[in-house]
């Protein structure tokens, strides 16, 4: 059982607000990822990190930013939320052979 956590699980917020989605894992994995997924659709990689102080943008252009100051923690920040940011955000970390996913944050921007 993978130990990867995301908070909040659900968030409804108004346009223009700054938000941070939290992701943490207790497995000591170096590689971590953020995906965006619209309902019933495929996952798109928006950010990844190969270790502390390493962050890169993924395939899908995103206005969010990430940081990796500690191995276990990989937060995602939106400086000014917009309705187009409404989606599910999934965090994952990479073990030896597979990626483990957190429970996700379902974000709604009104």
């Amino acid at each position: 059982e993978a130990d990867i956590y995301q908070t909040p699980r659900y968030l409804v917020i108004g346009t223009g607000k700054k938000i941070t989605l939290e992701c943490s894992q207790t497995m000591g994995h170096d590689k971590m990822y953020w995906y965006q997924q619209d309902p019933g659709m495929e996952l798109h990689l928006i950010h990844y990190s190969y270790g502390v102080n390493s962050t890169e943008k993924g395939d899908l252009s995103s206005e969010s930013t990430v940081s990796r100051i500690r191995t276990e923690h990989f937060p995602l920040t939106l400086e000014s939320a917009r309705p187009s940011h409404t989606s599910q955000y999934l965090c994952a970390s990479m073990g030896i052979y597979e990626q483990y996913f957190g429970p996700g944050t379902r974000l709604t921007v009104t």
Partner: protein
């Protein structure tokens, strides 16, 4: 452009029947993953296939990988209602898994009818 295509996108099947979901990919990867997602939930890992010819089975599901054909299959045997979910395949975009960056397929929504 790297692509991962699944078919069918939607599958409605009766309990007790057999069926296969196909996953084609365009990169020369040797690592393929199958995940299950229930509505409103996160992804649950089903299989990790790491070499050509790999075959793994768990319960009524069996997955295989043919890296030469760039094809993986997920076979469902004697389906039951509990298997209803969306199934995703994902491919590591580099041979040997150097980057561990995955490309996901479009997903197959499986509905098993009694």
């Amino acid at each position: 452009e790297l692509k991962v295509e699944q078919n069918p996108l939607f599958l409605s099947m009766q309990e007790g029947k057999n069926y296969t979901i196909y996953c084609n990919y365009s990169t020369t990867s040797d690592r393929l993953y199958w995940y299950r997602q229930d509505p409103g939930k996160s992804l649950e890992s089903l299989f990790v296939l790491l070499s050509n010819g790999a075959v793994k089975q768990e319960g009524r599901l069996m997955a295989s990988l043919d890296t030469k054909a760039r094809l993986s299959t997920l076979h469902i045997t004697a389906a039951v209602h509990d298997l209803s979910a969306t199934y995703f395949c994902a491919v590591d975009r580099t041979y040997g898994g150097a980057t561990n960056k995955l490309i996901f397929g479009t997903g197959t929504l499986l509905a098993v009818q009694p």
